[in-house]
Subunit: 156 residues, 2 copies
């Protein structure tokens, strides 16, 4: 089980605090929320990740991941549902926690979200000043749904 | 790319010729014919397998497979689409080729099919007397569709 909270990001100040930055390309072999199958390349590595249904409060979800060869991932990305998601991932350590901040490009350009993984649903963590509104459990921000309904098509 | 031909089996004579027999349980994280994602336990081993769209003649198909831990497979089977397929797989060597003969149980009881993998679409192979009608490319016999429309529901 993975426990995560997700937030919008309201400034680019996080970039100065980032310890790592990698390009991610990912697409879905299934975007069904009860059995999401994702293929991802991240820097020089690649993964297949399967996620189950979210808990009712949207905080936790079964997750299984396995590293695969990058060439295999490139072949599997060709089978995937349109369209792939591209983003830069920044890792930003704040206090005891590492935020993964995703700056999307392509059809989701303009969207920046931060995720923090927790050990329990009520675990406390320090909030940096660039952290905005919480969107945990809001399906519109699921990457699997951004692939079908990208940020550029959203109406405010 | 995997090149395979599939046949109905008209007698149980193959059982005397089998070199190996294993129980298979499998289910689908996606049964879409363009990106099938299958989780399988086979004896003491387990696999995740992803297949692409079949060629027009139904003979060849992209296939990617990775062995996974059996405990992981059991967790992933819980996420899968209903319903799992159960079958006994017999491996039967005939001349230079090995036939995989699947004897289904559960909702597909009564169905027995044999598959032979070839190196080219026109490769010759010896046909045993228990081999019946060819059903290569007939989608009704895809395991992914047997999971949704099992043999017991078919009308002749």
């Amino acid at each position: 089980m993975e426990i995560e909270r997700k937030f919008l990001v309201v400034s680019e100040a996080f970039k100065n605090q980032a310890e790592k930055k990698e390009k991610i390309v990912q697409a879905y072999l299934n975007s069904h929320p009860e059995r999401t199958v994702r293929v991802r390349t991240k820097g020089e590595k690649a993964y297949i990740t399967i996620k189950g249904k979210s808990s009712e409060n949207g905080l936790s979800r079964f997750e299984w991941e396995k590293e695969i060869a990058i060439q295999d991932a490139e072949n599997l990305l060709k089978l995937a549902e349109p369209e792939p998601i591209e983003k830069l991932r920044y890792e930003v350590k704040i206090g005891q926690h590492t935020f993964e901040v995703d700056e999307f490009s392509g059809s989701n350009k303009g969207l920046i979200v931060a995720e923090v993984e927790l050990n329990s649903e009520d675990e406390k963590f320090e909030k940096p000043e660039w952290l905005g509104k919480e969107v945990t459990g809001n399906k519109r921000y699921y990457n699997s749904l951004l692939s079908k309904n990208p940020y550029k098509n959203w109406e405010e």
